[in-house]
Structures are given as structure tokens and as C-alpha cells.
């Protein structure tokens, strides 16, 4: 089980790099099954708390620093995510899920304030400023999308000197993460994508990935001597489909290959010139950094340490037998760790660096650690009025039970019935819910906030379900694409693990949901006004007439019948009278 070890060590290594130096960065590459490649970039920069407060920024970006000071934010976590992590074939999430967010944008921060209102107003300043900085519509995180989790998130930083902190959390599941979010992200780095591993980050490839998440974490860390530093960690994790990203940008269309290039199964009886059963290729595909990332790695970022652990900025995690050729004109140092499954490279400064992996028939593969939990959430039922949500959480481990906190943040127009909340464990009658925190929604003011502390026995499945009712919005509250449905933020599952290696915790997030609401025909209101007014007018006319009309007995009426005839006759008579005069 060397690779599993390696991963543990890896996480430790990556966790401990921050200690000494002011700026470190590291890229971990790990080929995954189905010709996928996990690339997780990590950048850390430290500035002393003192110079931060004096607004003398060196590695810490000034723009972000000023925002944090202005909003009195002590710890910040910002996530941009896209796509899904395929746990069953890719195994455990990078960073144990601690550095990723739900689909779209997720933001949570510890804000220093005297009371809740002040905290919220500062939170609004924070979101507005950040939306300007990252070209994301973070400013749409309003009161209805903001919750104050009580169990799910723990501060990573050292807040001994900040007494009254408020944790606020907001998500934008509908936000589409795209290239314009990457550019400001890179600008925050000291080496700005001009040198170091950040020079590999290219918008086109990043957002063509099967799964990618960008994260920014700011936290204060204090040493024993009381000397505090502000640590900012930026990380980009992405899973690239090697075949797809190897396509040149000028010709991205996956045209069918010429038949010669397809390996056919000749053992089939019907195999012929025009009939070909394709064999799935068993060998590892060949790739190198330049073609996979669409850019070349321009040497090391010189701000990192020149020797020691932190100098090795590129690591690749493969079975020992996999051949990895280094292609550079500069001088580099290769070092192997944890049973040769991890090879790290100290990059040359000022020279391009490239890793080249040829196509190869593998006999051994990496054993990927299985995730502690897997969760799937879906909306059931149909119709305009009500539905139900079902979450299936599985604990694959055959031995150990898992305790976790399940956090739901629902929009106000989705009204859950808590009495219908059911949590069942396959093959055991016990109730898995240990603790419940529920803050009901208030129409148009805040959303529902539900946190459940639960416990799954080993090798069993937990099914959580509850019904909800769909509210009918006001005419003006519908977005332009009302018929698409409304996005419901992913549920956050945070594991309560006493033996957590680092202070980050472990997280699993479900996918976001699409909630169809009853939508009116938007051309209606004017017609409705007219219709109702007409009806009212009719009623009015009738009543009014009844009230003011004079009734006379039938026999009192002009003889010779009333009606048209009489009318005409009367007119004629009057005419006669006139003429006679």
C-alpha cells in the first residue's frame, strides 16, 4: 500500500511547507484512471500581522488585504468550483475536500463585529468588494443566501486575540465560474503566472477540465513567541481529461479518427474492412506538461526558497515503474520519496521545464484511497406544488463508523416540512441523528438553515429525506430564465474526525439541485388588469342600474305595447308634433 502512505505523507508535506519561508508554491500531478490527470496547484504567502496592519504589503496582495481590513475580516475562505469529482474512480478528494467548494461560488468568513447587525453589514461590504475584485457576482449573496453555521465550520487560524468573531457563509450555486475569475486570481500571486508553476495555468484548459476548483484561504497564524503572521493560501485543483486537453486549441473538434488509427478486435467473427469493434486501450496515454496545459513551465518562481523541502515545487505521484523524462535546458534536482511513488523536482530559474511521460503498458497501478463518505442528493416527485429531497450517504469503510455534520442552506421559496424529516439507516433501526440545529426561513428575508449531526455505522447507507413546498413568487421576483428552475445550493457534509491530521477538517459536498417553480406566463399582468377591471366595471354597472332605475308596473305603461314598436311610434309622434307646429 505504498501509494496510500505516500498520500498521507503528501498531505503532511503540503501542510507543513508554510512554516518557515514567506512564499512557497507546489504542484502535485497524479495520473488517474480513465486517462485523467489530477493537477493540484498550491501557493502560500505570509506577511507579518504587523506590516499587514500598517498596510505595507509584500507578498500579500494589496487589493485583497485592504478589503479584509476594511471589512474587519479575520479569516476568509473563498471557493470557485466547476464540475463533479468522480469519487468512485478517482478516490479521495484532494486536501480531503477542505480546499473545494460547492458548484459555483462559496464564501465563508469570520468577521469581527460587536453584534450581528454590524457583522452582517461588514459581510455585505466584504461580498461587494470581493465581487469587484474577482469579477464574480458575489454581491448577490444577500440576507436570503447567507447563513451562520454553528457546527459545520471551524476556524483554521489562530484567533486568540480576536474576541467576538461572527461566522457567515454564503453560496451562489448558479454562478458560472469562468476565465475572467482566473485572471484576477493569478494577479494575486507574487510571480503572477510569469514564472513558477503558475505559468502553467491557462484559462482555456482550466475550464475545459472535468472538475476544477479555485480556492483562497486567509488565516492568521501565531507562533509560540506571539509573533503572528497572516497566511494566504491559494490553490487550484483540476482533473484534466488527457485526450481532450491534448487536442490543439485551433482544432478542438473531436473528429472521428481515421479507421487505421483505431485498434480493432480482430478476434470478432464479423471483423472486416468496414466493421471494427474498437478495443479500449489498456496502456497509459503519453503526455507532457506543455501539451496538457497548453503552456510551458517557465522555470521556478525565484521568491521560493532555493534549497530544502520547499524548493521542490513540482511533484508527480506515479507508480515507480512509470518512466518520467525531464526536458529542460537548465539544471534541476530530482528527489524521490515514499517508495519512489512521489518524485519531486527543484526547477531551474529562468529556463523552461517540462515533464514527458511516454505511452506505457503498466503492470501496477496506484491504489487510490477510498473516500470516507459518498453522498448523492436528488429532488423527487413532480408537480408544481410540492416535492421531496432525498440524500443518500454511504459509508464504504467496513470497520469504522463515521460521525459528521450535514448542512443544508435552502432558499426561502423552498419550504421544508421538518416533521417529514426521516433518516433511515440500512439494516439498523437506530436513529442516526444525534443533534439538530434548525433555523426556519422567513419569506424574502432569509433562507432555511438546517444542520444535522449524524452518525453512520460501518458499511451502511443512510437515507435522509424530507418533503418541501414550493412557494409562488411575486411577478417581479422571477429571474429572466425563470423556466430553467432555481438552483439549490449543495449540501455540505463535514466529517467530525478526532484524528484529523491538519486543522482543516474533511468535507464532502453534494451536487447542486435544480428546483422547478410554478412560473406564470409573463405576458399576463396587463391582460389580468384589463380583465379584472372589466369584470369590476360590469358588476358596478349592474348594481348601479338596479339602484337608480325606476320600475313601473306593467299595466301602467303606454298602451300599444312597449318595446321597439312603441319606441318607434313615440318618435314618429314627436316628429309629427314638431312638423305640426
Amino acid at each position: 500500500m505504498p501509494s496510500f502512505l505516500s498520500l498521507l505523507l503528501l498531505s503532511i508535506i503540503l501542510a507543513t511547507v508554510s512554516a518557515g519561508s514567506d512564499y512557497t508554491e507546489r504542484l502535485l500531478l497524479r495520473p488517474l484512471p480513465q486517462s485523467a490527470l489530477l493537477a493540484s496547484f498550491n501557493f502560500r504567502s505570509n506577511d507579518s500581522q504587523l506590516s499587514f496592519e500598517e498596510q505595507n504589503f509584500r507578498y500579500f496582495p494589496r487589493s485583497l488585504g485592504q478589503i479584509l481590513q476594511h471589512a474587519h475580516t479575520k479569516e476568509l475562505h473563498l471557493r470557485f468550483s466547476l464540475g463533479r469529482w468522480d469519487a468512485e474512480s478517482w478516490g479521495q478528494r484532494p486536501w480531503n475536500g477542505a480546499r473545494e467548494g460547492g458548484t459555483g461560488v462559496e464564501l465563508w468568513a469570520w468577521v469581527e463585529a460587536d453584534d450581528e447587525d454590524e457583522a452582517f453589514s461588514r459581510w455585505l461590504t466584504l461580498t461587494n468588494a470581493l465581487s469587484g475584485l474577482f469579477c464574480a457576482s458575489l454581491n448577490f449573496i444577500d440576507a436570503t443566501k447567507t447563513i451562520r453555521p454553528v457546527m459545520s465550520f471551524q476556524p483554521e487560524g489562530d484567533h486568540s486575540n480576536a474576541p467576538n468573531l461572527h461566522l457567515l457563509h454564503g453560496t451562489l450555486p448558479h454562478e458560472v465560474v469562468c476565465t475572467e475569475n482566473l485572471t484576477p486570481f493569478l494577479k494575486l500571486l507574487p510571480c503572477k503566472g510569469k514564472a513558477g508553476i503558475s505559468s502553467l495555468l491557462d484559462g482555456h484548459k482550466l475550464f475545459d477540465a472535468s472538475w476544477q476548483t479555485m480556492s483562497i484561504d486567509v488565516r492568521p497564524t501565531c507562533g509560540i513567541d506571539g509573533h503572528c503572521t497572516l497566511e494566504m493560501e491559494q490553490s487550484v485543483d483540476m482533473v484534466l481529461d488527457i485526450d481532450r486537453s491534448k487536442r490543439p486549441r485551433d482544432n478542438p473538434i473531436p473528429r472521428p479518427l481515421p479507421i487505421e488509427e483505431i485498434k480493432c478486435d480482430t478476434s470478432k467473427g464479423y471483423n472486416a474492412g468496414d466493421t471494427c469493434y474498437p478495443l479500449d486501450k489498456s496502456s497509459e496515454p503519453s503526455w507532457n506538461l506543455t501539451e496538457v496545459f497548453g503552456r510551458s513551465l517557465k522555470g521556478a518562481c525565484p521568491l521560493t526558497d532555493q534549497e530544502g523541502e520547499n524548493a521542490e515545487t513540482v511533484c508527480i505521484n506515479t507508480p515507480p515503474e512509470r518512466t518520467v523524462d525531464v526536458n529542460t535546458t537548465g539544471s534541476y534536482i530530482e528527489s524521490r520519496a515514499v517508495g519512489d511513488t512521489l518524485r519531486c523536482y527543484k526547477l531551474p530559474t529562468g529556463h523552461d521545464f517540462d515533464l514527458n511521460l511516454p505511452s506505457q503498458q503498466m503492470t501496477t497501478g496506484l491504489v487510490l484511497p477510498s473516500p470516507p463518505l459518498s453522498a448523492a442528493r436528488s429532488i423527487n416527485g413532480h408537480g408544481q406544488e410540492r416535492g421531496s429531497i432525498q440524500t443518500v450517504i454511504t459509508n464504504p469503510s467496513p470497520t469504522s463508523a463515521v460521525e459528521f455534520v450535514y448542512l443544508e442552506s435552502l432558499p426561502w421559496f423552498m419550504k421544508p416540512y421538518l416533521h417529514t424529516l426521516r433518516a433511515r439507516i440500512s439494516a439498523s433501526p437506530e436513529n442516526p441523528v444525534l443533534e439538530t440545529y434548525y433555523r426556519p426561513a422567513v419569506d424574502r428575508l432569509r433562507g432555511t438553515h438546517l444542520e444535522l449531526r449524524m452518525r453512520i455505522p460501518a458499511a451502511s447507507t443512510l437515507t435522509l429525506s424530507y418533503d418541501f413546498e414550493k412557494a409562488i413568487l411575486r411577478y417581479t421576483e422571477y429571474p429572466p430564465d425563470a423556466n430553467r428552475g432555481f438552483d439549490v445550493a449543495p449540501a455540505v457534509i463535514s466529517l467530525i474526525d478526532p484524528a484529523a491530521s491538519d486543522g482543516r477538517g474533511q468535507y464532502v459536498r453534494t451536487t447542486s439541485l435544480l428546483l422547478p417553480l410554478p412560473t406564470p406566463d409573463f405576458s399576463m399582468p396587463y391582460n389580468v388588469i384589463i380583465l379584472t377591471s372589466t369584470v369590476m366595471a360590469l358588476g358596478f354597472g349592474n348594481i348601479f342600474n338596479l339602484l337608480v332605475r325606476r320600475f313601473v308596473g306593467a299595466e301602467e305603461v303606454v298602451a300599444g305595447g312597449g318595446g321597439l314598436g312603441a319606441l318607434v311610434r313615440g318618435k314618429i309622434d314627436r316628429l309629427k308634433g314638431l312638423l305640426g307646429k
Partner: protein, 576 residues
């Protein structure tokens, strides 16, 4: 009314052969046609009451409610006052400067001297709005400074002490050319050295000393007068009338200065950035440098504005591709930038020079350390290495001191930063619009105070005028109460500012003008005012027409019918 019943009823007797009760009916029906019996009075009045009540409800209740609920709220604004402010009808700013004279001589001589000097000064001054008043300060030996008779008889109160613009100290000397004067650089004091014989004799009306002092004073305040005059002339309104005429070149000079200077704000954010095309130098001793070279200047400015300072280091900041790259000049032995390229030197797209958060403008000072390959880097035309970007900040190219060394230093020490810091402080001074003369810093600051106060006053009032015009031009925009409140506040503070100007309390004037300006801006840029600018009243009526029309028609018809019948009953028409 309804056909069949009428038919049935009227012809019923025909079928019925017998029936006593019916005979009369039949007879009547057969012989004559008679009108329906006259309606009883009470039912008539009842009907009229019904119609009337309907009308009342509609007119008194319905229409007003409908109108009110669908109307756009517009707060009342004092339009006339606002326009008056804009036209300068209300406040004509004047700048009475108090100048104390301290003379170690006999009381009456001093008074005589002051009087004559005042006369000379008044003869020199051709700008009535800005006028200097001399007043005699008792010699320091005098016991009480509070009760003091000044030439024009007014009492010099204690609180006027700090409003004294300049103190003229007469010092009698025997040596050197006299009269001569010396302006102290760090206090608003003018020392005038004279010899006893230069004192005016009580009989004489003029004396060389008096004229000398007058000329000195006039010289000292010449630029301030020019600035104020320029300000008055540029702002529209009646006040241009008594502004003094400016020569073309002074006007141009002042124009240049005012365009270069930043708009006034209570707070400025100073950002000092170190840019380098490579990864060197990655550190600088900025805290200490700021401490030593900049803090004193900023402290002296505190009376006018506050400052926040932040610094950053930005590596790998290359020029924008659009800009023409520097080229080597063999004469200068240096890489040179063309003057016309200097505007594009800042790569706004790449370099993170975003304005700081919080109210007030950001002043950027960029320290650029060129790459070793391109060092030294100079401006081609004048060989200089620093320039000022109007209303934005300043740029300084720091060429490493020892160019023979093969690589740029990774760390910039304090003394290496000294030239840059000096350049930056000069640029800051001119960016803040501080006048060049006179030599004394306090005097220049107080001048700046007056100029700022005046400009704020004018801009605030013109904003009010603009708001009034907007209010009149767009009758369909909503105007919340906040706007009205802000307008009132603005007017009040403008008035205060104007008064304190007149009384010579310039600091207070600046305060009030500052508040007025802020309020005016707030009122003008109220967000909710642009809301439903495209929902005119015709639209509203059109939407509700389906209701109003059908309801109105029967009401009106019934009303007319009743009126007709009433008139008929009043003037009975002759039956044919």
C-alpha cells in the same frame, strides 16, 4: 319596459269576457294612452341621493386614493434657493485677512505707521474681495493682550488670535540695508528690519517704511489673490463682476496647476508601489523611508486633509505591449523613453493600481526599478527620471546606484530610496495644489485653506443648481425625502461657510464647505431617483382605462339624466 309583460297585461282584458274589476282598466286602455303615474317624491329623492352618493364616493374617495397610490413621490425642494446659490446671488465670498503688526515703539507712532501702511496697501490692492486688514498688536511686554484698541477702533478679541494670517514684526537694527524683510519659513511671521529714522513722522502722510511693508505684504499675497481671482472668474455667476483682471499667462499657469491638482477631499489614500519587470528587487525599506521623508509633510497637512498610506511590491510588471519599448541612446549612455510615451508608461491593465477602499481619492506613487539590461532608464528629452501624472500621482524611475554591478540589488535600503521619496513629496505637494510662493509653509497652507474653502463653496452650490435643474427637467422621477434633507443641510452649511469666510474664520469655513459638498453630492447621486424615469402618467391612465371608462359612463349618464329631469321640474316645458 319589457315587451311581453306589457303586451300580456295591456291586452289581458280582451280575452277575459267578464270581470268587474277589469272593465275600467280595459276601458282606459282602449280609449286613452296615459303616461306612467308621476313618481312619488321620496323615491325620486332617494334615487338622486343614490346617484349623488356614488358621485361623492368616486370623487372624494376613489379618485384621490387611486391617484395617490399610483403616484410617484416627489419631496419638496427649495428650488429658488438652490438656483440662487448656483447663481451666487446669496453668497459673495470675501476674504478679509487679518495681519497683526508688532512694533516695539510708542503706541501712537505705531498706530500712525499702521494707518499709513494700510492706506498704502489699499492703494495697491485692486481686488476688493480679498483684502488685508492691518491691526496693531501690543508689544509682548503689555500685560493684557485681550483688551486692545486697534486703529479702526474695533476690539481684537482672543478668538481672532488664531485667525491672524500673518504677523509683521518690526525689528529696529542699525546695520545692513534697511528697510529689509525676512519671511520665516516655518511660522507665519514677517520680520521687517528698519532703522529708527525710517519711522514716519506723525506729520507726514507717507513713509518709505510704510510703502515698503505694503509692497512686501502685497507681494506675499499676490499669488493667493491671483488664485482666488481665477477661481471667481472661472465660476459662473454675478461674483465675477468684481474680480480683478488676470494677465493671460498667469491665468494659463493657474489653469495648469488646477488641472494638475487633485480634487479636494477630506481624506487621501497614498499608495507607494515598487514595480520591477523582473523578480528583483523584491523588498524595500519603505516603512523607515516613509517615517523619515514623508511623515513631517503629511503632519503639516493634517489641518486640511487626512492621509492613509499603504505600500506594495509588484514583481514581473512589464510594460504594456502597446507602449513603444525604450531604446538605447548613445549620447546619454542610457535607455530612454520618449516624452509622448510617458503617458502610457503605467500598464493599467496589468499593474494592480486599483484605488483603495473607502472614501477619498487614491494618489499613486510608482517606483519603477528597470531591468538590469535596460538600466539606466531616463526620459529622452530632459534626461530626468521622474514625472507627475496629473490628478493621478507620480512616477520615479530608480536606476540602481551602482550600475556596474551585474544584477539589480534584491533589497532597497532606506538611503537608496531617499531621492525617490523627495521626488514623491514634491509631486504630492503640487498634486494637492499647494501654491509655490510665498516661502513660508504655514502661509501656503493657509492660502490653500482659503482656496479650497472657496472652491468647495462654489462646487457645492453649483451641484445644488444642477439638482434643481434636474428636478425641473424630469417631472416623472421620484424624489425621496432624504434628498430634501440633504439639500437643506447643504444650504445651511453653505450659509455657515459663507459667514465664517466673511468673518475670516477660514478653518471653520473649510469645515462647513466640506460638509456642504458631501451632502450636495449625496443628494445629487441619490440612487432611487433614476428608478422609474420611464413610467409617465399617460401609461398609468392607459393601464387603468378599462376600469375607469365603463365605470365613468353610467355615472355620467345617470348624472346628466337627473340634472335634465331636475331642470325640467324646475322650468316645466309647455306641453303641446
Amino acid at each position: 319596459m319589457s315587451t311581453p309583460e306589457g303586451v300580456d297585461a295591456s291586452s289581458a282584458p280582451v280575452t277575459s269576457s267578464d270581470g268587474p274589476g277589469s272593465s275600467s282598466t280595459r276601458h282606459g286602455a282602449a280609449t286613452s294612452r296615459r303616461q306612467p303615474p308621476p313618481e312619488p317624491k321620496d323615491s325620486l329623492w332617494l334615487r338622486r341621493a343614490v346617484i349623488l352618493s356614488f358621485w361623492l364616493v368616486v370623487v372624494v374617495l376613489g379618485l384621490p386614493v387611486w391617484w395617490k397610490t399610483t403616484a410617484i413621490y416627489r419631496a419638496e425642494l427649495p428650488l429658488q434657493t438652490m438656483t440662487d446659490w448656483a447663481d451666487g446671488k446669496i453668497c459673495k465670498p470675501v476674504f478679509p485677512l487679518r495681519i497683526a503688526v508688532e512694533a516695539p515703539i510708542a503706541q501712537q507712532d505705531a498706530q500712525h505707521l499702521v494707518r499709513t501702511t494700510q492706506h498704502a496697501l489699499d492703494d495697491l490692492n485692486d481686488f476688493s474681495a480679498h483684502h488685508l486688514r492691518l491691526m496693531l498688536l501690543d508689544p509682548p511686554l503689555a500685560p493684557n493682550a485681550s483688551q486692545q484698541v486697534v486703529p479702526d477702533g474695533s476690539i481684537l478679541e482672543e478668538n481672532d488670535k488664531e485667525n491672524i494670517a500673518l504677523l509683521v514684526r518690526l525689528v529696529s537694527v542699525e546695520t545692513g540695508t534697511t528697510p529689509r524683510s525676512r519671511l520665516q519659513p516655518y511660522s507665519p511671521t514677517l520680520d521687517v528690519y528698519y532703522t529708527a529714522n525710517q519711522l514716519p513722522s506723525p506729520s507726514s502722510t507717507g513713509s518709505p517704511l510704510a510703502t515698503f511693508i505694503a509692497h512686501e505684504l502685497h507681494k506675499i499675497f499676490a499669488e493667493e489673490q491671483a488664485r482666488l481671482a481665477y477661481l471667481l472668474s472661472t465660476t459662473s455667476g454675478a461674483r465675477t463682476a468684481k474680480s480683478k483682471s488676470l494677465s493671460a499667462e498667469t491665468a494659463a499657469e493657474l489653469e495648469r496647476q488646477s488641472t494638475r491638482a487633485l480634487k479636494y477631499a477630506p481624506t487621501y489614500h497614498l499608495t507607494f508601489s515598487l514595480f520591477s519587470p523582473t523578480y528583483l528587487p523584491s523588498a524595500w525599506e519603505i516603512e523607515e523611508a516613509l517615517q523619515d521623508y514623508l511623515s513631517p509633510l503629511l503632519d503639516s497637512f493634517r489641518s486640511i486633509s487626512n492621509f492613509t498610506v499603504d505600500t506594495q511590491v509588484q514583481l514581473y510588471s512589464t510594460f504594456s505591449p502597446s507602449m513603444r519599448q525604450p531604446e538605447y541612446d548613445d549620447v546619454l549612455k542610457a535607455w530612454t523613453l520618449r516624452k509622448e510615451d510617458l503617458s502610457g508608461f503605467i500598464n493599467a491593465a496589468e499593474w494592480p493600481l486599483s484605488p483603495s477602499i473607502g472614501a477619498g481619492p487614491t494618489v499613486n506613487f510608482a517606483l519603477y526599478v528597470p531591468d538590469q539590461a535596460q538600466s539606466p532608464l531616463l526620459v529622452k528629452e530632459n534626461g530626468g527620471n521622474s514625472w507627475l501624472v496629473p490628478q493621478w500621482g507620480g512616477i520615479f524611475i530608480l536606476n540602481p546606484a551602482d550600475a556596474h554591478e551585474d544584477s539589480t540589488p534584491s533589497f532597497l535600503a532606506k538611503d537608496a530610496l531617499a531621492p525617490a521619496m523627495h521626488a514623491f513629496s514634491d509631486q504630492l505637494v503640487s498634486l494637492l495644489g499647494l501654491p509655490q510662493s510665498p516661502a513660508s509653509l504655514p502661509l501656503r497652507l493657509s492660502t490653500l485653506t482659503r482656496v479650497r474653502a472657496a472652491s468647495l463653496l462654489f462646487s457645492a452650490s453649483s451641484t445644488l443648481g444642477a439638482l434643481a435643474r434636474l428636478y425641473r427637467a424630469l417631472p416623472s422621477i421620484p424624489v425621496p425625502d432624504m434628498v430634501a434633507q440633504s439639500v437643506d443641510l447643504t444650504a445651511a452649511h453653505l450659509q455657515h461657510a459663507c459667514d465664517s469666510l466673511r468673518e475670516g474664520r477660514f478653518q471653520g469655513a473649510l469645515e462647513h464647505a466640506r460638509i456642504a459638498e458631501g451632502e450636495a453630492e449625496k443628494a445629487f447621486f441619490e440612487r432611487s431617483m433614476v428608478g422609474q424615469v420611464y413610467f409617465p402618467d399617460e401609461h398609468k391612465v392607459a393601464v387603468y382605462l378599462p376600469l375607469l371608462g365603463p365605470v365613468a359612463v353610467p355615472l355620467i349618464m345617470a348624472g346628466l339624466k337627473e340634472l335634465k329631469s331636475m331642470t325640467g321640474s324646475i322650468f316645466p316645458k309647455r306641453s303641446p
